[in-house]
């Protein structure tokens, strides 16, 4: 600390500032806040219930992991998910548990913090489950990342931070067999043995508790046989979602070999790929999957069409969309160059395989250094919902934001959500990609609907558009650059400028 700073600190310590809180205000605000929290929860639940599609039956992830300490937690994940699935498969069991299962699987994401205790060793893991996409991710205590994709093209991805390599492996074979056996085992168990239902106190609240035990589950921990497995699931009565779980592994003498405590929450979004979990884009990749081509086997597999040896293989971009929240009535904006509504979902956008959102979590700067509402990091935080706290409001008039991708990239698409809660069109939308932060060299304009050149960057011929929850997808045309700048000059409702999220789909140029 500098001398100047030290002196200033002393002075501040000597100031007499009346900052004593008012207890009446404190109590009153506490009530208001908790009411607002409950209202937000009810509103959210209602919206989710309305917007839900048919619930899919999840398949739990594989129990096979190369990580010794991750293996047990993953097994427990499978046990818990398998238990949920087993009751679903059998269509029997307590009705209230069925409701719990449905309410849990209805959520877009399940996030679990898992504390594993084995002797004096306590390790924490973080798990995400995307039921609809049939994906699961886990960040282990040693920062390893594991991803399971058990839908079409099932595979397992394991990132080892020590060697900075992402290994892509089979999810079929032993993994699936183990999973299926567990589901079958627990389905049989649930149909045969008694599941104890009760209520319990947790964090001062009454929760529903579902407990059961299984003898000789066929597991081993540190070369010791697990003779008894106890699982307790706790669900919140109002939302009927699982909020916590405890798993205990006992040996023959009744001693607890290991214990796991799970705390679940249900965020609105989660990682789309392992790259959203601090796996660097430049990590080396090893694909250990066996290719069936030309290998004799009992079950011959058709040989697929070979990939082209030149050019890029294309695949539809996976763009996770927020919930539609548009309210209000249609308006006639009378903009001279407004595009007609498409009236259907946006068609898939093809991009080279391996394209990802290279803007996620990257720094954003703005011509308005201090937003009126929100902070600039919200623009690349992955949250696209049109909610309070998810958007940034910049001052009136022409304003721009600049995303620093932190490396040279090929940009295939930019998707921007300005504000899709109300029907409005933003004026003078202009998007540029450049190689230098001053946007003086290597600048490429990929979208410009500033028809009258009011921004002074050249007149554009692109059409204006009305904001929707799909966001505006702009073809990047493979533009090369590290910086992406977006301009607006107010909107058809007011002169303010807003951003909820900007995604830049591309790949590092050196790959």
């Amino acid at each position: 600390m500098s001398e100047n700073e030290s002196e200033f600190r002393k002075m501040v310590a000597g100031l007499r500032i009346d900052a004593e809180p008012n207890s009446v205000h404190r109590d009153q605000l506490r009530r208001q806040m908790l009411q607002a929290f409950e209202r937000a929860g009810v509103g959210r639940q209602t919206t989710e219930d309305r917007g839900q599609k048919a619930v899919r039956r999840d398949r739990p992830p594989s129990t096979v992991s190369h990580l010794p300490l991750g293996r047990l937690a993953i097994a427990a994940a499978v046990l818990i998910a398998g238990t949920l699935g087993a009751w679903s498969l059998l269509g029997r069991g307590p009705t209230s548990f069925q409701q719990v299962r449905l309410a849990t699987q209805r959520m877009p994401w399940l996030y679990a913090v898992v504390s594993r205790c084995q002797g004096p060793d306590v390790r924490t893991e973080r798990h995400w489950y995307d039921f609809a996409a049939q994906k699961a991710f886990a960040v282990m205590d040693d920062s390893s990342v594991v991803g399971w994709e058990y839908g079409v093209g099932a595979r397992k991805l394991v990132y080892n931070p020590r060697v900075q390599t992402l290994q892509i492996g089979e999810l079929s074979g032993a993994g699936v067999n183990v999973t299926e056996n567990l589901v079958s085992t627990f389905a049989a168990f649930a149909s045969r043995d008694k599941v104890t239902r009760s209520t319990a106190q947790r964090e001062g609240q009454t929760v529903l508790a579902f407990e059961y035990e299984k003898s000789e589950p066929g597991l081993r921990i540190s070369n010791r046989v697990v003779n008894r497995l106890k699982i307790a699931l706790m669900a919140e009565p109002r939302t009927r979602r699982v909020v916590a779980a405890r798993v205990e592994y006992e040996d023959g003498g009744g001693s607890v070999l290991a214990r796991e405590d799970w705390v679940m929450s249900y965020p609105s979004s989660g990682p789309a790929t392992v790259y959203d979990l601090n796996v660097p884009a430049w990590a080396g990749t090893t694909d250990t999957r066996q290719r069936p081509i030309g290998t004799p086997s009992d079950a011959p597999t058709a040989i697929g069409t070979p990939a082209p040896t030149s050019g890029l293989r294309l695949a539809p971009l996976e763009i996770r969309l927020p919930k539609p929240t548009f309210t209000g009535t249609s308006r006639d904006f009378r903009l001279p160059n407004l595009e007609r509504p498409r009236g259907a979902a946006r068609p898939p956008f093809l991009a080279p395989i391996g394209t990802m959102n290279v803007a996620l979590g990257k720094p954003v700067s703005s011509s308005d250094p201090e937003p009126v509402i929100g902070s600039l990091d919200a623009i690349t935080d992955g949250d696209k919902e049109a909610l309070e706290g998810s958007f940034v409001e910049l001052s009136p008039g022409p304003q721009s934001i600049t995303l620093d991708l932190q490396e040279q990239c090929e940009v295939y698409a930019v998707v921007v959500w300005h504000y899709h809660r109300w029907q409005r069109a933003y004026v003078d939308v202009l998007v540029q990609v450049a190689q230098d932060p001053a946007f003086k060299t290597g600048v490429r304009t990929i979208f410009n609907n500033d028809a009258d050149n009011s921004l002074g960057l050249g007149a554009g011929t692109d059409l204006s558009y009305v904001e929707t929850y799909e966001g505006k997808l702009i073809d990047g045309k493979g533009a090369q650059g590290r910086y992406v700048r977006l301009f607006t000059d107010g909107n058809t409702h007011d002169d303010l400028n807003h951003y909820i999220e900007v995604e830049v789909y591309g790949r590092p140029s050196d790959k």
Partner: protein, 191 residues
């Protein structure tokens, strides 16, 4: 061994509280108890006036209540950075949007004029009082005011301030140094 384990366990409990507060009102209530005084105090230091500080504190916690379910962080550190970011933004927005700031400044400047002659040696900060200092702080850029308040009134370290205002610790250190120098100039009457 027990002492070594105690802190992580306590910290883990706070981290769990943050995770639970996304779904459980009781946990959110406990977080509120932990943070009300800190946020109120921060608002007083940023806004000078207790009534105004109560308004903004209310706004901060109501924002937290409405958006807690979407909050992405999972640790107390994440929550702390998040709530201070909300508070800093709301305080700055309030100052910008209301004319009250002018009245505050006017009142404070009255004190400042009276005290100005007493500041013969601005390096020796000891001769200042709160209204004089507040008036001088208000002449800094809003983001610099935020950094100054977080550093000296909330006793945050550079890393923590960096998380709140989204800047690197080294940048905070340099900015703070320049801000203090600028503050001395303001107090000397140099524009």
């Amino acid at each position: 061994m027990v002492a070594i384990m105690a802190k992580p366990v306590e910290q883990r409990a706070y981290d769990d509280l943050v995770v639970l507060a996304k779904t459980q009102a009781g946990a959110l209530g406990r977080l509120y108890e932990l943070y009300y005084d800190r946020i109120f105090r921060f608002c007083v230091h940023r806004l000078f006036n207790k009534t105004t500080a109560e308004d903004v504190t209310s706004s901060v916690f109501l924002t937290v209540a409405r958006t807690m379910r979407e909050f992405k962080g999972n640790t107390e550190q994440d929550f702390r950075s998040w709530i201070y970011t909300i508070a800093a933004n709301q305080a700055n927005a309030h100052i910008r949007k209301t004319m009250r700031r002018k009245r505050l400044l006017s009142n404070a400047l009255g004190h400042r004029q009276a005290d100005a002659e007493a500041i013969d040696d601005p390096a020796a900060w000891s001769s200042l009082d709160w209204p004089t200092l507040y008036a001088a702080i208000q002449e800094l850029k809003p983001e610099h005011q935020t950094i100054l308040t977080l550093r000296f009134f909330e006793n945050m370290d550079y890393d923590e301030i960096g998380r709140v205002v989204d800047a690197r610790p080294a940048t905070i250190r340099v900015t703070l140094h320049r801000t203090l120098r600028r503050l001395q100039e303001v107090l000397r009457g140099e524009e």
